[in-house]
Amino acid sequence: MAVRVTLERVSVHYGQRAGLRDLTLDVPPGEFLGVVGPSGSGKSTTLRVIAGLTRITSGRVLFDGREVQDDRPASRNVGMVFQQFGLYPRTTVKENILLPLRARGVDISTARKQVASLAERIGIETLLSRSVEEISGGEQQRVALARALIRKPPLLLLDEPLASLDVSLRSSLRNLFSELHQEQGMTVLYVTHDPLEVALLAQRVAVLEAGQLVQLGRFSELERQPATFFIAQHSAALPLNVGEGILNQELPGCWYLQVDQERLTLKGIPEGVSSTCAVSWTLNAHAVGASPGGTATTERIVSMLGIRLARIHGERSWWAVAHDGLTESSNAEISIDPGAVKLFRKDGTAIRILDQPNAKSR
């Protein structure tokens, strides 16, 4: 049971401030959508709008094509898990999960059975008679999840559910989210700060910035062609090299990026750039190589995701792939693949580099 969620040009204004600006988003039934963005970008607001906890100023919210923006949260049949768990204090685990059913008038014996079986699935059946204050953070979040799922909602909203938990607890819960999604097939919207969660859980990712949708696509697309500087920074699995430089045109059709003393020739034409301009750039560690020799020094070498990475200090510091023979404290030489560099304007938007059929590289 899943529902299609659509936001059509939804805006939310708090007095002068705008929480969401003209947001349009369509989530097909059963999709696991990750929602990311910097603080204040409107991620939580989006969830709250869908749940009915925040009123919209304009636009439409649709469930399977039906307008719901005026419906109260209870009637939208949505399950929601909050960052601070949102459990009812001084109440037992069992009661917490029971309450949504009781509120709908389900009789107590049926309700109890449903609670028991769901608790078992989620792994909290031994905690049912405990008070929610007595159990650990990870257990509390499981209880919150159970409470959200007890009504078998066609839509599940999760607002940074793992942010309050220790890192060591997160993977088991992540797996649980994934499994439940597979089993029950409801539509899931998952807000998070952590790119790892998005990479592992989400089918598609929606990126919000300042209340607007900036990019929507699969995680790999975000990695390849980040629409903004922020996305580039947050979708990298390996350490990212980041800096500022000047974009310049040597000859018509031949552009290069000036980074300190280095000159990187681009394999194409930057879109929408007519003359010299200052840019921000990112370069994944993949695209930088470090070999023995040269004048820079190797500070250290670490192994990450199966790759040997080196931290190099020269004119500037780099994260690079350590080539054979490179050891700590040895001299190093940097080689950069210019085709992998990503450029961004001062406002953070990406500058696409278009292939030129006749581009000659120097």
Binding site: K43, T45, L53, A74, M80, L99, P100, R147, E160
Partner: protein, 275 residues
């Protein structure tokens, strides 16, 4: 170094205890003395204790009645005030912005006692509520109400936003939500009841105006016993001590409640209004 601190602390404690506990303590002590011993300066701490004063108080001062009166009025008004205050405090907590309303509730505390006692006397006179326990209870509840609303709102404000959100999403009725919220702030609720109880228990002026012989509360009773013609200080001390005891108990109770924490343990981590 540690012990020096301790000694200084102990000294200060003794000094403060002498100043602020001393008077009441002396009164309590005196309540156990024979009449003769009270006058005799040579017999300060070494005296043979007696319950005569207490017995006397019960016997010919009708202390028992007064005590019961005070108990009934204080308990009744405290419970009534808090029960009425809960929905109002909850409503104000969830729909903030009407600060003026809140201040209005608080302002009853600021008025001079006579400003309430005199008109209440007039009104109660015409309705026949003077010298009734019901009348006094009503008056005290009305007055405690404002403070109770203010206090309870403060406690409700401590509930995390996610609690309220979850109740919305789960579809709980407003009554269910209020019941859960009240359960959640139970220590705060108890504290408010105790404060309201204490207010009524200690209240004097309005009680004096609105009660008569039958319904005198303890503070009034004490007044009646102190006459220029002569005072049975032993018995007065006994009554006063008995009147102070509930106050002390209340204070200890509240400290215990507040210490146990109004925080919600795991829920009180930073309300990260993350967007």
């Amino acid at each position: 170094m540690r012990s020096k601190r301790f000694i200084v602390g102990a000294l200060i404690f003794v000094a403060f205890a002498f100043v602020w506990f001393g008077p009441a303590g002396w009164l309590a002590l005196s309540s156990f003395k024979h009449r003769i011993d009270l006058l005799d300066w040579n017999v300060q701490l070494k005296f043979s204790p007696t319950l005569n004063n207490y017995r006397g108080a019960f016997a010919h001062d009708e202390f028992g009645t007064h005590f019961v009166n005070s108990m009934l009025v204080a308990t009744g008004s405290a419970l009534a005030a808090v029960i009425f205050a809960i929905p109002a405090a909850f409503g104000l907590s969830l729909r903030p912005g009407r600060n003026r309303l809140l201040f209005l509730f608080l302002s009853a505390r600021m008025a001079p006692a006579a400003a309430l006692a005199l008109p209440l006397f007039l009104v109660f006179r015409s309705v026949g509520l003077v010298d009734t326990l019901l009348g006094l209870t009503l008056a005290h509840s009305g007055l405690s109400l404002g403070f109770a609303v203010w206090m309870l709102k403060g406690f409700f404000d401590e509930l995390p936003q996610s609690f309220v959100d979850a109740a919305s999403v789960d579809g709980l009725s407003i009554f269910m939500t209020i019941r859960l919220a009240s359960r959640a702030i139970l220590p705060g609720l108890a504290t408010t009841v105790v404060f309201s109880f204490l207010f009524s228990w200690n209240e004097f002026f309005i009680s004096m105006i609105l009660t008569g012989r039958r319904t005198s509360t303890v503070p009034i009773a004490v007044l009646g016993l102190v006459t220029p013609a002569g005072t049975l200080w032993g018995e007065v001390a006994a009554i006063a001590t008995a009147a102070i005891i509930p106050a002390i108990i209340s204070m200890v109770l509240v400290r215990g409640l507040l210490a146990r924490g109004l925080t919600f343990g795991a829920f009180r981590e930073a309300e990260w209004q993350s967007e």
